[in-house]
Structures are given as structure tokens and as C-alpha cells.
Assembly symmetry: C2
Homo-oligomer: 151 residues x 2
């Protein structure tokens, strides 16, 4: 189901997910935008980076913060191909990301509409606007293909 036309940043995030797959990493991609510009793009790479925190969202947020020279990204949006986990949802709050667009949902590891639903909790320190589902079909197909090739 395509709910609205694919925004270019989600197209870029899906391209990042394909790069992850090509590198043998679970295919998730993310980009950070500011105004109409993509200021950071990254893909999941814990294996290659020897870094358990190297999820796409974390890398994109860190890259954007470094580029802007500030630890808060209140005027930035994040596009990611999979529902963020607890770690990434926490980072999104710490970074004060304005809007979160994510593609596929993740019933096992997601922490936005699944599991602990962190942004809905009373103690959540910053809650972005949340737009799920954009690019979900494409993102899920990339993930399915990756795991089917490894079975």
C-alpha cells in the first residue's frame, strides 16, 4: 500500500538499506534532513564497524550533529526504513528530532508502535511527530529478500 508519494528522503533511505544488504548487514537505512536538504545518510553496519550501536539511525543522527556542530537537531527530520528500536528511539528523543518518518514496522524489535512504545510514555523527554508506513512495502521487501537469502 502506498499511502502517499514517496518523499525523496525515504527513497534515499531505501538506497542506504540496499547498500547495507550488499555489505551483508541487516538492511536498514536512514537519512536526516534539514529544510529540503539531506544532511546525513547512513546504513546499519554493526559488523563492519565493530560497533553494536551502529544502527542506521544512530549513525545518521551522529553525522548530522557533527555536520551542524551541535548536539540537538530540533529543526531536523529523520527518515528510516524500519521502526526504530529502544536505543534509536532514545537517541531520537535526545537529539530532539522534529519529525520521524519510518517505513516498515518491526513487531519484534520496534519501540515506537510496538513493544515499549517509548514516545507514548509519560516520562518521554521529547516526542517527535511520527509518520509510519511511507515506503513500508519497499523496505519490507528488502528485508525479506536479505533474510530469505540467508536461510
Amino acid at each position: 500500500m502506498i499511502r502517499w508519494p514517496m518523499p525523496p528522503p525515504m527513497t534515499a533511505a531505501l538506497a542506504q538499506a540496499r547498500l547495507a544488504a550488499a555489505a551483508g548487514e541487516v538492511p536498514v537505512g536512514a537519512v536526516v534532513t534539514r529544510g529540503n536538504s539531506i544532511i546525513a545518510a547512513a546504513h546499519n553496519s554493526p559488523r563492519a564497524a565493530c560497533d553494536p550501536t551502529a544502527h542506521a539511525e544512530m549513525l545518521a543522527i551522529r553525522q548530522a550533529a557533527e555536520t551542524l556542530g551541535q548536539s540537538r537537531l530540533g529543526d531536523c527530520d529523520l527518515y528510516v526504513t524500519l521502526e526504530p528500536c529502544s536505543m534509536c528511539a532514545g537517541a531520537i528523543s535526545h537529539a530532539r528530532i522534529a519529525r520521524l518518518y519510518y517505513a516498515a514496522d518491526d513487531p519484534k524489535g520496534g519501540a515506537v508502535e510496538n513493544g515499549p512504545r517509548l514516545f507514548g510514555r509519560a516520562e518521554c523527554l521529547h516526542r517527535p511527530e511520527i509518520y509510519p508506513g511511507i515506503g513500508a512495502t519497499e523496505a519490507a521487501a528488502i528485508l525479506r529478500m536479505f533474510f530469505s537469502e540467508r536461510r
Copy 2:
């Protein structure tokens, strides 16, 4: 209240917290141990690093993984002076940390015994052994001093 003698890694984590305070960052410190060795030590530094993810635990975990050349730290323990938040608790699970020792609890931002209590949730992918309270008096005093000077 001292519940048992302070283990040297927590002493080192408290020293890291003091370094954070001296640098004007919220004073939290962390170390990762493997066997009887401290293999990584870091303090909270989001401002200096321009990195919203630069909590002490994240930096120590990333440093340890880089040192060992692997993205999982199943034979490592983490000592941190404050109850981990959702982001850091997620990273602890991703890293497969064996034991988590933390000092002060954090009713506002903590995600272990407070808030979403992430390690107690059914979908949690890896739950470390958890030992809270060691060094709590010292860690809380460091935090209290830091914030009282800023009021």
C-alpha cells in the same frame, strides 16, 4: 548506604563522572570490564562531542567493541554511575553485556528499574544480570553538586 565494598571498576566510573563535571557535562561515567581488566572508560560528553548519543555507556561500549574488534561483548560487564536510559539500555542489549552494575537510580530518565523497565519486557532480546546501588551515594552526590552549582 554502602551495600558492599566498592569494586574498583565503579571507583573508575565515578572518577569518569567527575571528569564529566569538570568539563561541564552532566556527570555520568562508565567503564567496561573483561575479566579483571578495565578495557574502556568514558564519560558523558554530548556537548563537547556534538553528539546527542554520547552518553558514558554508549562511548564505553563503542570503545570496548573497537578494542576487541567485535560488535558483541558477551564476556564483558558494564559499570555506570547512573541508571541507563532507554537508548543506553538498548545498546546494552545489542552489545550482549553480561552484567550491568549501576550506582544511582534515575526516576526521571532511567529505563531499567524506572520508566519502561526495558530489560523486564518480554521482547527484550538480551537481559544482563543487573546489580543496582553500588556507589549510589557517591554518584548521587556528584550529580547533586553539579546541578546545585548551576541553579
